[in-house]
């Protein structure tokens, strides 16, 4: 049994190896030595280049081997075949559009040539806008659609691109552009109204979804700044209210939402207030806390190049002159009871600043105590070296007193 099995196994192995070697063996010897000339014709179909090679003045013997090598940007593609019915038919898969050189070899004959592959019908498209938003006024940048249409093989087609644009408040407009340097640049009509400029793009069978371009207001040129509350008390409660209205560009479009408005208020001495607020639908509200220092103030606004104002503002002293009661009660400093000019108690928590001053007026130590129900008490620490008096400040008023009961 063993011997028989071994023989069977050997026979099977021999058969498998023979089949394998046979499959790998070179083709049967072909008649070669074709020494005549050849004629090559080429034809481009979808995704392939067909070559037909015939003998010059004589039929190619059947079985004559030949090859063609097609060189394109992606490299060399080679196909081989043998002649049948007096001609050699070669097919090379190739999809890149443009000019490609080929090299046909049949026996000793060699022919070089060039084949031009044209792009097919556009079926796919890529387009974008640059920029994606423009201002209606100023036209600092012309809105463009940049398009590129491709055939089924991904070649850029030279077919013209047609754009239909729908500007806000205007009739539709058709623009056609030819392709240059693989791209079609289509300027869109300069819009004069804010909104959304829509457009469609088409070339051959290729289309895109509706495109959109934002048409935004131009640079803010005008606006009105008014003081809704121009007078206030500097007790920490009041604030001046400035209203900015109708901020528009030169064409009357409302300024872009978020446009920065800078407001500055100047007061006695070098005191100044700075703030920036964004506009919402052309309006903005500016709140300025009234400072404790009484006097006249001037507010100005600025939005883009437009200057707004000036506006006059008035701050009133929160306390009546000389109405800051401060006294020593033993070792404790008592402040208050304070009553504001409007006859009310100051807000609980209003800070009272107590400063220890030297003979030259230098602040040696500073502490803050809060007012509660219009009063505050202060238990001073040991007197700092060099201190000669105390200064108490609250709501813009101040009082100076000797060290008194302080140790």
């Amino acid at each position: 049994v063993n011997v028989r099995w071994r023989v069977t196994r050997l026979a099977l192995l021999s058969a498998v190896l023979g089949t394998a070697f046979g499959a790998c063996a070179p083709d049967a010897p072909t008649p070669d030595g074709w020494s005549g000339g050849v004629r090559v014709t080429s034809r481009v179909t979808r995704g392939e280049v067909h070559f037909r090679v015939t003998g010059e003045g004589a039929r190619l013997p059947d079985g004559t081997a030949g090859s063609v090598a097609l060189a394109g940007p992606a490299g060399l593609v080679t196909a081989r075949a043998v002649a049948r019915a007096g001609a050699l038919q070669l097919r090379v898969p190739f999809s890149r559009a443009g000019a490609a050189t080929y090299h046909v070899t049949v026996g000793n004959a060699r022919v070089r040539g060039r084949v031009r592959i044209a792009p097919g019908t556009p079926v796919r498209m890529h387009a974008w806008t640059d920029p994606r938003a423009v201002r209606a006024v100023g036209n600092e940048r012309v809105p463009l659609v940049v398009a590129q249409a491709y055939d089924a093989q991904g070649n850029v087609t030279p077919l013209a691109v047609r754009v239909v644009s729908y500007a806000p408040g205007a009739r539709s407009k058709v623009t056609t552009a030819t392709v240059r340097h693989l791209l079609a640049w289509i300027p869109l009509p300069a819009p004069s109204r804010t909104g959304t400029l829509n457009f469609s793009v088409q070339s051959g069978l290729a289309r895109l979804e509706l495109g959109a371009l934002d048409v935004l207001p131009g640079v803010a040129a005008t606006g009105v700044l008014r003081a809704e509350v121009a007078t206030g008390w500097g007790d920490g409660r009041d604030a001046w209210q400035l209203r900015l209205r109708n901020v528009t560009d030169s064409a009357g479009n409302r300024a872009a939402n978020g446009t920065a408005v800078t407001v500055t208020a100047r007061g006695p001495g070098a005191l100044r207030y700075d703030t920036t607020v964004p506009t919402v639908e052309g309006d903005a509200l500016v709140t300025i806390p009234v400072p404790p220092g009484a006097g006249r103030y001037v507010a100005e606004g600025r939005v883009d190049a437009a200057r707004l104002g000036p506006l006059a503002l008035v701050a009133r002293s929160p306390l009546r002159s000389g109405s800051l009661p401060v006294r020593w009660n033993g070792a404790t400093l008592r402040i208050g009871r304070i009553v504001t000019a409007r006859g009310a108690l100051p807000d609980t928590g209003t800070p009272v600043t107590v400063q220890w001053l030297s003979a030259s007026g230098r602040v040696l130590r500073e502490e803050v105590v809060p007012l509660v129900a219009g009063s505050a008490t202060y238990d001073p620490p040991p007197v700092p070296a060099g201190a000669v008096r105390l200064r108490v400040r609250v709501l813009g008023a101040e009082a100076t007193l000797p060290l008194g009961g302080a140790r």
């Binding site: 974008w128 920029p131 994606r132 938003a133 201002r135 600092e140 940048r141 935004l216 207001p217 131009g218 640079v219 803010a220 920490g236 409660r237 604030a239 872009a256 939402n257 978020g258 446009t259 920065a260 800078t262 500055t264 001495g269 070098a270 005191l271 100044r272 207030y273 700075d274 703030t275 920036t276 607020v277 964004p278 919402v280 639908e281 309006d283 509200l285 709140t287 300025i288 806390p289 400072p291 600025r302 939005v303 883009d304 807000d347 609980t348 928590g349 209003t350 800070p351 130590r365 502490e367 809060p370 509660v372 238990d379 620490p381 040991p382 140790r407």
Partner: protein
């Protein structure tokens, strides 16, 4: 001292069985104690375990790929021996990586137990070796290494080493080739697990053992007999030499790629401070972690071990002593002198760990001696039988307690942030191709490695310092960007660089688990996208390009790649397979050191000590206890007394507040009517802001203490607090009044009365914007085409030179800055990036960085921001480079974020300062308000100064800050910077745009203010 009676073979085998039964108990104890903790996931709270799991995740995905791109923009895996990681990777395929780690660690511990027994048997009798394994299972050092440090290669490689050494011993003594083959195979496995163990283990473990084996033929004479009988040692010496040579060959071959890497790519990392290198006396915390805890369970046996130096075991004692000294870190100059350059690279805790392993044979011997030997008899004589039993029982209880305490240390003392569920982060990175950008995590601790192990996204940070090659990281001693705040100002400087210049490393996303960094992120141009389901805040930076489709990566020769993937696991397999050889050629007890077979001499029947000597020893003991007690009591009394002083009360109060120990802090407050603990806590939490929510108390110094009354009834303490924040440090001087009470000095704190207007309902219009979801439609898309760039106006910008303050003292280093303004000319809000570069005479860029905090990054239409690109610190040009010019570029993308403006400020010059009263006029809290002051000279914007309001401003609140308006020392204008024309509108206006509106300052200068704020609630 030792029984000179030769034991019969039967007695030896009986003793061996005795030892093996104790070994069995030790294995059971090890599995129960450490196995339970490991399988319960204790390693997830350790320092290193997740790093090894990350490495294993790499091999699980690509066994033969030695390049890991997920950390540090890519590093070589061949920089770390891979066996442990291969084992986890292989096992992780079926049980998951975390469980695989636990199983491999448990395997290593059990193997280590066997190794300790076999190693100890070379020096001590079987029962003592068994006790050594029990001591191992209860070792505080092992518990700390496994359950606190999370080290696996250390335990695994030591397990291989201790099992290899008996083979080397047997080879040296007998010359059987089988032992040589086994020894070399196990040394190869040691190398595959951790080459450092082979390297140093050869010195500290193998060498003393082989020395004993080589000198064994000299008999009792020891080294004294060497001159006359040196020929007898020759065979053993030659065999030991052969073993050493083959060990070196294995050391080179098994991890050949590592040696090739370390030679071709030497570590350029500046030393990163490690507490194991500190002076433990000057830094008691480091001493506790790296000396007291590891030695807790075995330190008592050290004198006994040193006493063995007079026996034939002296080489082992010498090795133990050397390791003991090396483990003391910077406490003595000896380790630095011995290790030289390696001192700043190695973590010295490994020496202490090895020392605590090397002492185990002596521990076992001491225990056996104490239980039934002469030591026990002496203890009985001195202490009495009852006290001796109590002392031994107490020692066992203390050891068990110490072991369990250390094993669970990470549970009751947090070394890591609470466990983070990484699923939402991984999901975010995977969707919409977010992995095409790099990310950074903050406040993750070592869990950053677990996140990396589960995502293909990459991060410029990492947790394996030896491998990093980015100059921004290798030039700083920052351990991880993730925990930059723990490295102080230097750490934050590194982090700031990455946050300021994110596009260089394609860094787009930050996952923040630590609000400490939030203000820094905001003011460097990042915005918060939201909070993930796991509570981690997600931040994003605009205008960062995605990673290229193919990242650059170096290649190793194929043979090295194959060797790295094959040899280490093969070494492990061969080592285990070699045990089959042992079955055929079993080690006979006679081949072991005969001197190690003898049990400690039994206690003599008579008195072991004279009565006089017992009295002396007792006297010394009692005296020592008394001295220690008195000293301790005096120190405790002094400490308590000092703690009651007013200044100490204030220090304790702030310390307790800083660490959120509120009850402890409130206990130091003088009881005041109306100030309940609830009210006090409410006052503390009512006003958040930079100081309350984003700062850490870095330093607290008492400036003055004054008393009032006699005896003093009141005290006034002035303290200076230095707060450390992500935006820098600032100081704060506080005056505290204290009153003496029966409980001691107490701080007077009054209820916080804040100014609040009556409740009013306020409505304000606001802006919101929608931007299309971020999505890269296909990998081939150019992301730039999806961005629309607003038009910017970049007027002239100037290059200035100034002296930045030197941290070391007076004088400063020359620094540079580009200063100018940028205006958003577009009708849409812009997210701004301003880049500056310094150039040498040839036009080559010698330093490049973006404007970080000194700019407002989100600009409304028509809004202007000043900017200052700072070249100082790690952004400074290289030393010796000559700055000849500069260039600046500004670019932006449309944004819908950061559109709120709700701050205004009254300002008034006061000498060379500007007093600014910041007011919140909006409807939302300004958590960290900021004032940017632009100082103008005749030519335009000259300098910028920033100030942060330390308290949050609720709507209607005001707060005052003071800014100095002077220019920095050494200020000079070098010229104008070139401006890029790419997408930027260049106006010819001078850099002082807007100066006509500016306020006046003394000296003819002018100023402008810009205000913005970080809002905790986001937008």
């Amino acid at each position: 001292m030792w029984s000179g009676v030769a034991l019969t073979l039967t007695e030896r085998l009986a003793g061996e069985r005795d030892g093996l039964s104790v070994l069995g108990a030790a294995l059971l104890l090890m599995a129960l104690l450490h196995g339970t903790l490991l399988l319960g996931g204790s390693f997830e709270r350790t320092y290193d375990a997740l790093i090894h799991i990350f490495f294993a995740s790499h091999y699980a995905q690509a066994w033969f790929d030695p390049w890991e791109p997920r950390w540090y923009t890519g590093f070589w895996m061949v920089s770390y021996p891979p066996l442990a990681h291969y084992l986890i990777a292989a096992l992780g395929k079926t049980v998951g990586l975390k469980l695989a780690f636990a199983l491999v660690q448990l395997f290593a511990l059990l193997l280590l137990t066997v190794g300790v027994y076999r190693f100890s048997r070379l020096f001590v009798p079987p029962r003592a070796a068994g006790y050594a394994t029990i001591a191992l299972a209860l070792s505080s050092s092992l518990a700390e290494t496994v359950h606190v440090f999370g080290q696996l290669p250390t335990t695994l490689s030591l397990a291989f080493l201790l099992n290899a050494i008996p083979f080397a011993w047997a080879w040296t003594r007998t010359g059987h080739w089988v032992f040589l083959a086994q020894g070399v195979a196990w040394m190869a496995a040691t190398t595959a697990a951790h080459h450092v163990t082979t390297l140093f283990g050869s010195v500290f473990f193998t060498a003393p053992v082989l020395l004993v084996a080589v000198l064994a033929p000299l008999g009792a004479g020891g080294l004294r007999g060497l001159p006359r009988h040196w020929r007898a040692t020759l065979p053993g010496a030659l065999r030991a030499g052969a073993f050493a040579a083959l060990t070196v060959v294995m050391l080179v071959v098994v991890v050949l790629s590592y040696w090739a890497w370390s030679r071709a790519d030497p570590i350029t990392q500046v030393p990163i401070p490690h507490a194991s290198r500190f002076d433990f006396l000057a830094n008691p915390t480091a001493g506790l972690v790296f000396w007291v805890v590891p030695w807790a369970s075995t330190l008592l046996f050290l004198p006994y071990a040193w006493a063995q130096a007079r026996t034939w075991r002296w080489p082992l004692v010498a090795s133990l002593t050397l390791l003991f000294v090396l483990g003391t870190g910077g406490t003595t100059p000896i380790p630095r002198a011995l290790l030289r350059g390696a001192f700043d690279i190695l973590t010295l805790d490994r020496f202490t760990f090895w020392a605590t392993m090397l002492i185990l044979p002596f521990v076992g011997l001491a225990v056996q001696d104490a239980l039934g030997g002469r030591l026990g008899a002496r203890l009985t004589a001195v202490l009495g039988a009852r006290v001796r039993h109590v002392a031994v029982a107490g020692l066992v209880v203390l050891t068990c307690g110490a072991s369990m305490w250390v094993s669970t240390l990470t549970r009751h003392r947090k070394f890591q942030p609470p466990e983070i569920d990484i699923t939402p982060i991984v999901s975010f990175l995977e969707k919409d191709q977010h992995w095409q950008y790099r990310y950074l995590d903050l406040g993750f601790g070592d869990q950053m490695a677990w996140l990396s192990a589960n995502t293909r996204a990459t991060t410029p940070d990492g947790n394996y310092h030896s491998a990093r090659r980015l100059p921004e990281l290798t030039t700083t001693a920052v351990e991880r960007l993730e925990g930059a705040k723990f490295s102080g100002e230097a750490g934050l400087e590194s982090l700031r660089y990455f946050l300021t210049t994110p596009e260089k490393h394609h860094l787009k996303f930050i996952f923040s688990n630590d609000a400490f960094y939030d203000p820094l992120l905001h003011f460097t141009g990042w915005h918060r996208l939201g909070t993930l389901e796991n509570g981690v805040a997600l931040w994003e930076r605009e205008d960062v390009p995605p990673l290229p489709a193919r990242l650059p990566r170096p290649e190793l020769p194929t043979y090295q790649v194959v060797m790295w993937g094959v040899l280490p696991p093969a070494a492990f397999v061969v080592a285990l397979a070699s045990l089959g050889l042992a079955a055929r050629r079993r080690t006979h007890p006679d081949e072991l050191e005969p001197r190690a077979q003898a049990a400690p001499a039994p206690a003599p029947t008579g008195a072991v000590m004279t009565a006089g000597r017992v009295r002396v020893v007792r006297g010394v003991l009692v005296g020592a206890v008394a001295v220690l007690s008195v000293t301790g009591a005096v120190a405790a009394w002094g400490s308590v007394r000092a703690a009651r002083a007013p200044e100490r009360v204030v220090l304790r109060y702030w310390d307790a507040l800083d660490f959120r120990r509120y009850p402890e802090a409130y206990a130091l407050v003088q009881p005041t009517r109306g100030l309940t603990q609830e009210r006090w806590l409410l006052d503390l939490s009512a006003r958040g802001g930079l100081r309350a929510s984003y700062a850490k108390l870095a330093d607290l110094r008492v400036l003055s203490v004054k008393y009032d009354g006699s005896p003093p009834a009141r005290a006034f303490v002035r303290v200076r607090l230095r707060w450390f924040t992500a935006l820098g440090s600032f100081t704060d001087v506080r005056d505290h009044e204290l009153r003496r009470s029966t409980a001691g000095w107490r701080i007077v704190i009054r209820p916080d009365v804040q100014e609040r207007a009556p409740v009013r309902f306020t409505l304000q219009p606001s802006l919101s914007a929608f931007t299309a979801p971020r999505r890269l439609t296909s990998p081939g898309d150019d992301s730039a085409s999806a961005l629309d760039r607003p038009r910017l106006d970049l007027p002239e910008a100037r290059l200035v030179r100034f002296d930045s303050p030197s941290p070391g003292g007076p004088g400063g280093r020359a620094s540079y800055a580009i200063i100018g303004t940028v205006r958003n000319e577009d009708a849409r809000p812009a997210d701004l990036t301003i880049s500056g570069a310094l150039r040498d005479a040839s036009g080559r860029a010698i330093a490049r960085v973006n404007a970080g905090r000194f700019a407002m990054h989100k600009l409304l239409p028509g809004e202007t921001t000043p900017f200052m690109v700072l070249f100082e610190g790690i952004n400074a040009p290289p030393r010796g480079a000559r700055v000849a010019g500069a260039s600046v570029d500004a670019r932006a993308v449309v944004t819908g974020r950061g559109l709120t403006r709700n701050l205004g400020a009254w300002s008034e010059p006061d000498g060379d300062s500007l007093r600014v009263q910041v007011a919140n006029t909006g409807t939302r809290e300004a958590t960290v308000p900021r004032v940017l002051l632009g100082v103008y000279d005749a030519r335009g914007l000259a300098w910028m100064i920033e100030a942060f309001v330390p308290l949050a401003l609720a709507p209607g609140d005001t707060a005052e800050v003071t800014l100095r308006t002077s220019l920095p020392p050494g200020y000079s204008v070098l010229g104008n910077a070139e401006r890029s024309v790419d997408g930027v509108l260049l106006s010819g206006r001078p850099g002082g745009a807007g100066s006509s509106d500016a306020g006046a300052l003394p000296g003819g200068r002018r100023f402008r203010l810009w205000l913005d704020a970080f809002q905790r609630e986001g937008e």
